[in-house]
Subunit: 119 residues, 2 copies
């Protein structure tokens, strides 16, 4: 098959399987509680107890959320004696969150501007 033929019938960038996986991962970032945990971890590695103190969430809750985050490799787990120290797994998380936040900020500004122009 020639390259321009490929360009014409070029398949969508994501397969159905990739879409399913992407959706699953976005789901994990769709919980305020988990984002709060991630925000705390962005200041550096933390134990569960520390995260409970910082976030105000209950222990079982934090543990469950960390399990979810760990299952998707968003965080690393490091057992130290009696404790478990969690940390952000990769820098993509920062990028994802920053991108989403700047998007939101931009929309807010656009909305405010259009409201102002409408009078």
């Amino acid at each position: 098959m020639k390259t321009d033929d490929m360009a014409k019938q070029r398949k969508p960038g994501m397969s159905d399987a990739q879409i399913t996986e992407a959706a699953r991962h976005f789901t994990i970032l769709s919980e305020p509680a988990r984002l709060k945990i991630l925000r705390a971890l962005m200041a550096g590695p933390q134990t569960v107890t520390e995260l409970v103190a910082v976030t105000g969430l209950k222990q079982g809750n934090v543990s469950k959320h960390l399990g979810v985050l760990y299952g998707a490799r968003f965080v690393n787990r490091e057992k130290e004696g009696n404790f478990a120290r969690y940390s952000i797994a990769d820098a993509d998380l920062f990028t994802l969150c920053e991108l989403m936040c700047t998007r939101i900020d931009r929309d807010v500004k656009n909305l405010a501007a259009s409201l102002k122009a409408r009078r």
Copy 2:
């Protein structure tokens, strides 16, 4: 206040309000059906009927999802007579999805590699 003092007690990058909003927006990207619609739109603007044909979803369903996407300004709406033509609102969507997909691919490779090394 000096800059290094600011570094020490530097506040988390996202406020609670920003976290809530970010979570809400991630939620919108957490549905396979919505991602399928977005994937279709990445090939160019489409009417609801066209999206129904491409995605295989029911009309009411597509309309509802488009409403959600439009509410978060992920897509634009353009009424043309009897039709409504939707389009991707900004390029950040591509970046977000690509970033997530490359993250997933990388994890899969890492997992495969560690499995291989473990025998």
